[in-house]
């Protein structure tokens, strides 16, 4: 078999290049820094977060003249990076796929304008989805935005592509998207560390309003220019299918890209196929050399396309009579292409049907807020303060408040606030309108909660805004927020407190309370809600640090917990409060000491006072 894209069997010690096992995201960060980018901007989001973290660490460890920032959101990240790239310098903006939705405005416009210094947008997709709202395919977005997109299949390839993408971006004066998927971002592989060569480039901004400030007239010119660039890019070797397995003279051919191609190679190496097949890999799914695709269908009577998650390559075949894939149902039209799905599709296509499929139908354990998480206390208190209410919430660890009935909606970043307004308008004329709360995390509030708060305030909506302030962006791996500071590698910049930001939106009543004190917090929410009658939007900040922060955890009082004889086994602490450390076994509550952090909050939940806490020294 042809194995030239598979790894060699031994790493050997042929040269003295440093080799390290890197996470795909770390490899991409190394590629960005080694290419001499001087601006790197990102908003955290799984599966992309580690790229910016790694870039930040590299920049400070090696004391490089690179500006790495956690931007307030993806749109801002792209705008900052793009602008650095129109001064001839290199930049990268990093986000997850739904972050690209937020950044879509500048990305589509930037494609028209082009760049003078390399601009690489790293956009991580999440087929599955594992940690996202959608399975959207950034390659399809790239087509819509008319931006070339690269689809790496492994950390090693992601590193190589990142390095080449900067030169490519400069050659064609266009932004380039690198689209890794979760299985590339969160794979680890031995890679050769690239040398970091600082690029000594002066910023050079040539004023040209017909490009950088184009009005609709010149935009038409730019659009034509963009189309011409894309036709030129179609001549690049990346735009052509590359034979990676087989002779190229077989009846059956498979065209693939990304990690799905890696699975194909593994499946064939493992199981073989009854009929010989040829496998072609596509490095750049858009733009493609369509004539090269047509010659594939001329050469091979049957062609299968295996790609994640939308039929982007498939739809670019001019004649699809001999082509099967997602569009004719040969490949499932949703969900991740795991090795077993790829094997199954391949068996169907080649008529091998080798052996019985093994599947794992494991019941996945549902995630929940950590034991002792202050969000749990906040949700429990909000439910008590606003019984029968509607709780519009948002994206973060706290989405898991749905396990205890504290989250009714979760649409997209910042929507807690606008959905609360929407519910207000929906119910305002009903005889008994339900109380409404918008429950949003600190980082999410800064990201997309500010405009809808102003909007609600100036359009007459009435609800209480609860900002869960745990002083971090916890879900994605504890990145900083504007209120904590540390948004850049050199700690430049001031901080902005939530109080200042909320007051700046025009909100008058802003209460701050620690949700660990559940009755006090309940009162704060109740009072703030009462004032919505006259003030419209009022706010409560639930302030307690994330207990995954070691220092914060060590700083708080720790209690030894005990269930007393009074316990009736009613299960309120499990059903309504849902701390993973508590379970009811044989009609009696039990606290798992290996999970319990001794926060003592559950004492306030038990209706018969059967949970006892003793302060530990």
């Amino acid at each position: 078999m042809n194995t030239h894209t598979r790894a060699p069997s031994s790493t050997g010690k042929q040269d003295d290049k440093a080799r390290e096992i890197l996470l795909g995201n770390e490899a991409i960060a190394h590629g960005i820094i080694a290419s001499g980018a001087n601006v790197v901007a990102s908003y955290p989001g799984t599966p992309a977060s580690e790229v910016c973290t790694t870039a930040m660490n590299l920049a400070s460890q090696k004391n490089l003249a690179v500006h790495v920032e956690w931007s307030i959101n993806e749109k801002t990240a792209v705008e900052v990076a793009f602008t650095n790239s129109i001064t001839g310098r290199r930049s990268a903006a990093i986000m997850k796929q739904v972050g690209l939705n937020v950044a879509s405005d500048p990305v589509i416009s930037a494609a028209y304008m082009g760049v003078t210094g390399g601009l690489v947008l790293v956009v991580a997709d999440d087929p599955g989805p594992h940690s996202s709202q959608t399975e959207q395919d950034t390659r399809l977005f790239a087509m819509h935005a008319k931006v070339p997109v690269l689809d790496p299949m492994s950390p090693r390839e992601a590193l190589e592509m990142t390095m080449q993408a900067f030169a490519f971006s400069e050659r064609y004066r266009t932004p380039v998207i690198l689209r890794p998927t979760t299985r590339v971002c969160h794979a680890r592989q031995l890679v050769e560390l690239p040398d970091i060569k600082p690029l000594d480039r002066r910023p050079d901004f040539r004023k040209d309003p017909s490009r950088w400030a184009a009005t609709p007239g010149p935009r038409l010119v730019l659009h034509r220019e963009l189309n011409a660039k894309l036709r030129e890019i179609e001549q690049h070797p990346w735009a052509r299918p590359r034979l990676v397995h087989g002779s190229g003279g077989t009846e059956l051919a498979v065209v693939s890209s990304g990690v799905a191609c890696a699975y194909l190679l593994d499946v064939i190496a493992e199981l073989g196929t009854r009929q010989d097949i040829s496998i072609y890999k596509i490095d750049m799914p858009f733009p493609l050399d369509r004539r090269a695709l047509s010659s594939l269908t001329e050469k091979h009577p049957r062609v299968l396309v295996v790609e994640e998650t939308e039929p982007v390559i498939e739809m670019q075949f001019i004649n699809r009579e001999r082509v099967s894939g997602r569009m004719d149902g040969t490949v499932p039209d949703a969900g991740e292409l795991t090795p077993e799905v790829v094997a199954f599709v391949l068996e169907e296509f080649t008529g091998t049907r080798a052996q019985k499929r093994t599947t794992v139908s494991a019941q996945q354990r549902r995630p929940s807020l950590c034991a002792g998480c202050s969000h749990r206390a906040a949700f429990y208190a909000i439910k008590r303060a606003l019984p029968g209410g509607i709780y519009a919430s948002d994206i973060g660890c706290y989405t898991l408040g749905l396990n205890l009935g504290g989250v009714d909606t979760c649409l997209c970043m910042g929507a807690a606030v606008s959905q609360a307004a929407g519910f207000f308008h929906a119910f305002k004329d009903s005889p008994t309108p339900p109380p409404i709360a918008a429950i949003i995390g600190d980082s999410t509030f800064f990201h997309a909660g500010i405009p809808p708060t102003i909007n609600a305030l100036v359009t007459g909506a009435r609800f209480v805004l609860v900002v869960l302030d745990n002083a971090t962006t916890a879900m994605t791996g504890h990145q900083p927020t504007p209120a904590t500071g540390g948004m850049t590698n050199d700690f430049s910049g001031r901080t902005l407190s939530l109080e200042e930001a909320i007051a700046g939106c025009g909100v008058r009543t802003i209460r701050v309370h620690d949700p660990y004190d559940m009755s006090g917090f309940t009162d704060a929410v109740r009072e703030a809600y009462a004032r919505t009658e006259t003030e419209g939007v009022t706010a409560v900040i639930a302030r307690h640090p994330c207990i995954k922060d070691r220092r914060a955890l060590q700083a708080q009082t720790r209690y030894a917990m005990r269930i007393t004889e009074e316990c009736t086994g009613c299960g309120v602490c499990v059903r309504e409060f849902e701390c993973p450390a508590i379970s009811v076994v044989d009609r009696r509550a039990r606290i798992d000491t290996s999970l319990c952090i001794g926060c003592g909050v559950c004492v306030q939940v038990c209706p018969v006072e059967a949970i006892a806490a003793k302060e530990e020294s």
């Binding site: 494991a362 929940s368 950590c370």
Partner: protein, 175 residues
């Protein structure tokens, strides 16, 4: 060409968020790389890490993709008994399983009460390192080699406790 070649190996790991499966996976990957072989691995990040099912795959040898198909793992490592049981179909027919459980139900080839040992060491969070020690023992991994790696990959504060747990794990399996 991974069929039968004794150096090629696929190791599947499963546990719950917070049990430290990623560090275990990382240590095994570093070990494999140190022996001069290619490695590619995959791990769960994000929401599942909040107490949900967390899996990791490690493929040693000539593999292109990071995931292991069901029925193909040579080794299954379970930090949680229930998760290990429900992921047992990942293992090939005569594969080896090493699982943390207090009671031997006869479902696995090797069991260890890692949680119990961890408690007795005063380090309830070190289940992952105890199971790593057992794994090293079962797979014939050189003790000094794996100790060196655990020293390197452990966060500074956990280094001592991790090493102690690793050693306890190494000695825990009575053959």
């Amino acid at each position: 060409m991974s069929q039968g070649a004794c150096s090629d190996r696929q190791i599947f790991m499963v546990g719950l968020g917070g049990q430290g499966i990623l560090l275990l996976a990382r240590a095994l990957a570093e070990w494999a790389a140190a022996t001069g072989r290619e490695v590619i691995s995959s791990e769960t990040h994000g929401m599942a890490m909040r107490g949900g099912t967390v899996t990791a795959s490690l493929k040693i040898g000539r593999y292109a993709g990071p995931l292991i198909p069901p029925g193909a793992a040579d080794v299954l490592i379970g930090l949680d008994e229930h998760e290990a049981l429900s992921h047992l179909p990942m293992l090939r027919k005569d594969g080896v399983s090493i699982v943390n459980t207090a009671v031997d139900t006869g479902n696995f080839s090797h069991v260890v009460d890692a949680a119990g040992i961890a408690r007795s060491l005063g380090a309830p969070g070190a289940v992952n390192m105890i199971v790593l020690g057992c794994t090293a023992q079962v797979l014939g991994i050189d003790r000094a080699e794996i100790e060196k790696i655990v020293k390197r990959v452990s966060p500074a504060k956990a280094k001592k406790a991790n090493l102690k747990a690793l050693q306890a794990g190494f000695d825990a399996l009575v053959p």
